[in-house]
């Protein structure tokens, strides 16, 4: 009994040591915003943050897999927008919500396969592949919609982005947290997560350990594509309209969240809990600055500075 509590205690300490720095930064930001704005520490607002952050969080799960395997995906914003447009187009033309959702997911899958195949089999660095597809997919969005939003979607579709569970918890929050749980189990508790991390940490050792490196590299991009599709669906559902210019710059918020969460861009290192905290931090910064009526021009500057500080503080913690 005594022994058991001791190992539990040790596990908790290890958890704190891993994510404590980030948790402290997040809490500190909350205290600061609560002090300067009376609207911040309100139940509604806090739940609102979780809804705002749900898109970043969902896409960040896919991005985390890609980063863990030692690659990067810059095309997430464009992919999410394209999947949102596809969903709206599907719903408009068929009148069936589920067909629209299926179309979005299928397209996300396809984008993932294309990105992964170009990286693995055409041997083009993922930075270059996804930089290119980022532009291409955004262009496809524009051509498809003629640059105009697709609006007047079926009212019932708004549940995903604007609905509430038990009249208080946003549906988008619940969906994103469920996905976090799925990725937590997948990355921490199954062989797939172990393989993805091994590939990112030492590709050659992974190959010689009889791991299908190429297959897993494609799979991480597919995971990213699917998460983009869900992110795009939430975006579209929130407004009941698909904007071809939606999710511009999403890759920046997602990458910031993953990096704040302690992931290493060279691969092999990163956790789901860290990414969750990192994405929440980004969400809190966005929300707090909005409440303070900071102009969006300044917001970008402040966000960048906070990210640099957070990473420096976290690294000092780690090296101690």
């Amino acid at each position: 009994m005594n022994n058991q509590t001791r190992t539990l205690g040790r596990k908790f300490m290890r958890f704190l040591r891993g994510e404590l720095g980030l948790l402290l930064i997040l809490l500190l930001l909350c205290v600061v915003f609560a002090y300067v704005s009376p609207y911040f520490m309100v139940e509604r607002n806090l739940l609102n943050i979780t809804r705002q952050v749900s898109i970043v969080l969902t896409v960040a799960m896919g991005m985390l897999c890609v980063i863990l395997s030692g690659e990067i995906d810059l095309s997430v914003g464009s992919t999410a927008a394209l999947c949102g447009v596809a969903a709206a187009w599907g719903m408009k033309t068929t009148g069936n919500i589920w067909l629209g959702i299926g179309l979005a997911l299928g397209l996300g899958l396809l984008v993932g396969i294309i990105n992964g195949t170009l990286v693995v089999y055409a041997r083009i660095p993922s930075f270059i592949v996804t930089l290119a597809t980022m532009g291409i997919l955004r262009g496809v969005c524009m051509v498809w919609t003629n640059g105009k939003p697709i609006s007047n979607l079926p009212e019932s579709f708004s549940v995903l982005g604007a609905g509430y569970v038990l009249n208080i918890i946003p549906v988008a929050t619940v969906v994103s947290l469920l996905l976090v749980a799925v990725f937590y189990v997948m990355l921490q508790r199954t062989k797939h997560g172990t393989y993805i991390k091994a590939i990112g940490a030492n590709r050659e050792a992974a190959t010689l350990s009889a791991i299908h490196v190429d297959r897993y590299k494609v799979l991480v991009f597919v995971a990213a594509g699917l998460m983009c599709a869900i992110g795009g669906l939430i975006t579209t559902s929130k407004l009941l309209s698909a904007q071809p210019t939606a999710n511009v710059g999403l890759e920046m918020d997602v990458l910031s969240g993953v990096i704040l969460g302690g992931a290493s861009l060279s691969g092999g290192i990163g956790t789901v809990v860290g990414t969750l905290l990192g994405s929440l931090t980004i969400g809190v910064i966005n929300n707090g600055l909005n409440l303070l009526n900071v102009s969006s021009y300044y917001q970008e500057i402040v966000k960048g500075i906070i990210i640099i500080f957070a990473v420096v503080i976290k690294r000092n913690k780690a090296t101690q």
């Binding site: 199954t190 062989k191 030492n202 050659e204 050792a205 350990s209 791991i211």
Partner: protein, 504 residues
Amino acid sequence: MNEELILSLRGIEKSFGGVHALNGVDFELRRGEVHALLGENGAGKSTLIKILTGVHRPDTGEILLRGNPVTIADPIDARRRGIAAIYQELSLIDTLTVAENIFLGNEPVVTPLGVSRTRQLYADSEAFLKRFGIAISSHAVVGDLGLGQKRVIEIVKALAINAEILLLDEPTTGMSRAEIDTLFGIMASLKEKNVTMIYISHYLDEVFRCCDRATVFRDGRNVGRFQMAAATVPELVRAMIGHTVSGERYRPAQTADGAETVIEARWFQSAVMRHPVSFRVGRGEIVGFTGIVGAGKSELAGSLFGAHRKTGGELLLHGKPVRFRSPHDTRAYGMAYIPEDRKSQGLILSDSVEDNIVLPHIEQIENRLGLLISRKKRAIAQRMGERVRLQPPDVRMKAGNLSGGNQQKVVLGKWLTAEPDIILLDEPTRGIDIGAKAEIYRLMTQMADAGKTVLVFSSEMEELLSICDRILILCKGGIVGEKQVGDATVESLLTLALGADCDE
């Protein structure tokens, strides 16, 4: 060639942290000769080169350059004094032209604004290349040249800053036959221009072709000086290894006649192998593959394990032809591979010992839902840790924090977990202490006694003599001989491996 000494070393000693790398070396170099430095790895050749190029300073002893005692402060000082080393790794810039490379940092004519006069640069370069009879255009971009031509440009670059003594360290590494011929041709024309060269190579046939004299090093001393015209291969080999070693055996040698053939290569070749190879190994046998650095041991080992694309011949396991597209395919056949470089190929250093051990057999620690059970992982890792006698016996330690010998035990344990039938070990004891070596030999004999097939790829011939039943000798990518361990000596293996008989 004249008798004038351009360089002489007297009583050079150098130690690193109590280990004597050089133990009283006397060496002399005559102007205009090509002088070979011979010796096994660790004999002191590289330390000597580093002292001549100013990387290290000798602890005691005297360096006389053109008769005057000198202190070589650093590599720049060495160059200023006319000593230039041509290393295996090239220092050329691929995107610049030949002329630009030759005069990089040393441009002949510069305008007041710092712009070099292009025409002058190319004219000077052409003159240089012509003087040494080199048929490479000054305007060629270096990246487009072959390895042999690049090495020639590297030499010309050294000559452009008036080097009189060239140190050529394994200059033919990776070169084709024709490129080697060209290099030797250029060396001959340099000799006519009275350039002095020190030539370091493992290949005795090359040394006989291009050198005038040779100095043999062993254990940090110069143990013999030979006129190449009068020297013989056995003489040189005996000087290099010194005494005949009577190795203690870890296991009585077995003859595998009649044993079932487990792995057989028939004119097997892969994309990274220079020649096809044929051999067969039976059940319960330990067979060694030896050869010097660059003989193709690692390439062969990796190819057998499916890490490189097969380009010809057949590989048969238990009499049936197999084709591996990746190392993953070898799992079904119970094959395991301990790679040469445990840090970059064998382990994930940032992970714990237990994570490393279970990585290739992760299915063993899954429950029915496919979730990983850390209790099972620890149990498997601990059992394996005991079997390989891991020190310290804590499987939660980071692999990167273990000593080299224990890291190697983890790599071995990683593969023994699958109870493989065929195990390939590439340089299994490189850089590890004597205790860990003994453990690894014990594990290998244990496996062979249990009827497994063990293939060891190693350049340490004494090691192979002490553990193998049979030894195959590789030279320049091909198998050049086979010895039953009872008939073999370090001397006979080294003679074959040094290429005295394998002149294609």
